[in-house]
């Protein structure tokens, strides 16, 4: 009987340099390929690789939503951009990791999608056909769900990255961070 094919070990010197390469590597890690873990750990520390993790894509998505919402209205676009910058600064905090940066960009893109869905629904509300109203309602529900999931994932990554804080109270050890991890931590 033939032995199952072993995954090709990842060479540290040939870490992926494209989005497709990074995607393939991350897929192997998620599938349980232990040989990829050291390389992934190394990559995830490097802020210069944020564009490969989805940073560029996030920027394109945000730009597309801004154009869709504001059209040629430069004033509107600038006002939304200021709001996004504030939101970004607030969500990033003091020392965000590259993963957190990508997740924050996703939260911002999802927030824009929610605004887009609500604006489109509101714009055509008076003259909307039943089908159009149904489409708008479904889209609003879906965008809201996606936005909440994006926020939840960011919170999960932040929570799991918190170092375990052990407090000794009268010889009884309380593991604070570990107790905080409950069954609700679903991705």
């Amino acid at each position: 009987m033939a032995e199952p094919a072993k995954p090709t070990p990842v060479n540290h010197g040939t870490a992926p340099r494209t989005v497709e390469g990074v995607r393939a590597l991350l897929t192997r890690t998620v599938a349980g390929d232990e040989s990829t873990v050291p390389v992934v750990r190394e990559l995830l520390q490097n802020p210069a690789l944020i564009p490969l993790f989805g940073g560029d894509l996030a920027q394109r998505v945000i730009d597309a939503f801004l154009s869709g919402l504001g059209g040629t209205d430069v004033g509107f676009r600038e006002a939304v951009q200021v709001k996004l910058d504030r939101m970004r600064a607030e969500l990033l905090g003091d020392a965000p990791t590259p993963v957190e940066r990508v997740l924050v960009e996703r939260v911002i893109a999802c927030w824009l999608q929610v605004q887009d869905a609500e604006l489109r629904a509101g714009r055509g509300q008076k003259d909307a056909t039943f089908r159009q109203a149904e489409f708008n309602q479904r889209r609003m529900d879906a965008t809201n769900r996606r936005f909440l999931a994006a926020v939840k994932t960011l919170a999960l990554v932040r929570k799991l990255a918190v170092p375990v804080l052990q407090v000794n109270i009268a010889k009884k050890q309380v593991n604070v961070a570990a107790n905080a991890l409950t069954a609700g931590d679903v991705l």
Partner: protein, 99 residues
């Protein structure tokens, strides 16, 4: 909808209890007027359908791009958690691997 009897009468068709019923509107100037009003109404409905279609297509294009970002961000998160020693328990909560 159209002109019947060699263009003498303007008629409209509608469905009534599953059957198509033809209504004779009239000929001459009144028939021409109603025909023009009907044509305007059809054009308005067509334009409305086009606008709705364009709006839905624009929204779908934006949503497709975001779906790709969503998928990549989820993959990144899962890989980062796996690399940090976490494992997902029955597609639910993430737990630190033992050992």
């Amino acid at each position: 909808m159209g002109w019947d009897k060699g263009g003498r009468y303007y008629t409209r068709s509608r469905r009534e209890n599953g059957r198509v019923v033809r209504e004779y509107v009239g000929g001459g100037a009144p028939g021409a007027l109603v025909a023009r009003l009907d044509a305007d109404e059809r054009a308005r409905r067509e334009a409305e359908r086009d606008a709705v279609r364009a709006e839905s297509e624009a929204a779908a294009a934006l949503d497709t791009a975001l779906a790709e970002l969503d998928e990549l961000a989820d993959l990144l998160t899962r890989a980062a958690l796996a690399a940090a020693g976490y494992t997902q328990h029955r597609r639910g909560e993430w737990r630190k691997r033992r050992g």
